[in-house]
Amino acid sequence: MPAAGHGRELFVEKLRWKLEMSLDIDQVRQVARLARLEVRDEDIGHYASQLNQIMDMVDQLSAAETGDALPMAHPLSMVQRLRPDRVTEENQREKFQANSPVVEQGLFQVPKVIE
């Protein structure tokens, strides 16, 4: 829990963002949550300010006349190549798992998911 003084500062800052910014502190928190990034409380304001600067720059796009332009996802107009459905790679489980922080009996270990 943040100290009372810190909580008040955060509240004031939140209000300020709501008034001035396209992305407020709660939205930044939500975006960080969606992206599975732990952002410390003391850093949220800084990130919010920088993300707003970036989004302000990006907002130039809204003025562009795109008319009936087709969205371009990729520089090459190519068709996805297909290959025969054959096993081409050998099993290299141990080699690949050598990079895992915690492996036991060939399985990746994570904290308990189901109680």
Partner: protein
Amino acid sequence: MSIHDLSLKQMAQALRSKQFSSHELTEHYLRRIEKLDPKLNSFVTVTADRALAQADAADALIRKGKIGPLTGIPIVQKDIFCTEGVRTACGSRMLESFVSPYDAHVVSRLHTDSGAVMLGKSNMDEFAMGSSNETSWYGPVKNPWDLQRVPGGSSGGSAAAVAAGLAPAATGTDTGGSIRQPAAITNLTGVKPTYGRVSRYGMIAFASSLDQGGVLARSAEDAAIVLQAMSGFDPRDSTSVDREVEDYSGQLNRSIKGMRIGLPREYFSDGLGDAVRESVMNAADELVRQGAELVDVSLPNAPLSVPTYYVVAPAEASSNLARYDGVRYGHRAQGARTLDELYTRSRGEGFGPEVQRRIMVGTYVLSHGYYDAYYLKAQKVRKLIYEDFRKAFQKCDLLLGPTTTEPAFKLGAKTDDPVSMYLNDIYTIAANLAGLPALSLPCGFVDVSADPDDTSKGRAMSAGESLGEGALPVGMQLIGKFFDEARLFGVAHQYQQVMKWHERMPRGFE
């Protein structure tokens, strides 16, 4: 003249005629790295033992008369390319202990197939996100032309190493200018080929529709040799193009007489430093003297390339970097009680601030309710930018413009202002969005000694002037049609036959 002043062609010739062995050549560079790199921090890993073993293998081949253009030639790999058995950290704490179980296509092409020697892995911005090399978890890289300045990024370690003569050539990757911008501000020739020309297999992904591997070298001739060896079809990359690679070296001497060079108006408008403008225009005059013709062209949507990029690239990055979960490989936070906590804490600790910013921007522009306004809109503008190039190339054979607005800036000058950092790539990003090949080459020096903190007040230096303190290199950029790399190399090589900016070396690294 020292060994490290030789061109790749001269080095191969010396190896062939047994003037020196690859072992001796490799030791020469390893000694220079040991002595000079502490000033630069351009290497994150030096693979001395492996390099000498590869050199010995190359020497054995040379004795048997089996020598190709890169046999026994040392190079450095950007630490974004996976190298089997050698740590591949990609500038990130996330991959601090990641030892790749396989080689990238580029790595096997250069070392296994072509016999080049790997000196080590070069420093870079974290996950290639940055234009100054300051986002690296392994510390910033210094520019050998002025140790208080950045070498550019994200291939900043590759640029500094080659510019300082610690390696004759290096690989790089370019998503929005990450080869060309560092090349320009360290006096190198850097090439980003057409999207699909070089396989992305084993090249750690940032923005998959923009990323492309390439080369930083001391001349167009050298860059052509290395790119030749790296290029070509690879079935393991679904966007690799199955198309014959032209003979780049064989076309270097093609005359540029009658070639139509387009100058995009938007690349010379406000925002371009006067001294850089003068240097690029002087270079254009030289190309005219050699018989080229200048054509006025317009890329009306080019000014929108930075905002377009900062939607498309973070969107793709947020998706590509979702794989770092702290479970299968990479950094893992200690003491997490739930799986969700393991993800969020591992990612919060493992990624630096710039990477987290971009993941958040990407997550936001792809999120429900914003997708159409940002992502779809950006894809439409991307199409307009592509169409601008298509129309311009109806009037000319290639485009010429500046690579950067200014020479190198000082370390720390832009670290807290992401938008001003992003504007570094204002002239380079459009080629990535369109997928076109582009090359930066040295076109002069700017004397900033009058006001070292404001490079826009610098003065363009003339070719004969000696380079005192405050002399910083600048580059010009050639953008070509799809798969027209050979033409870019040819024009650059013809320019470098007359103008010798690229032969200048930074003081203290001669």
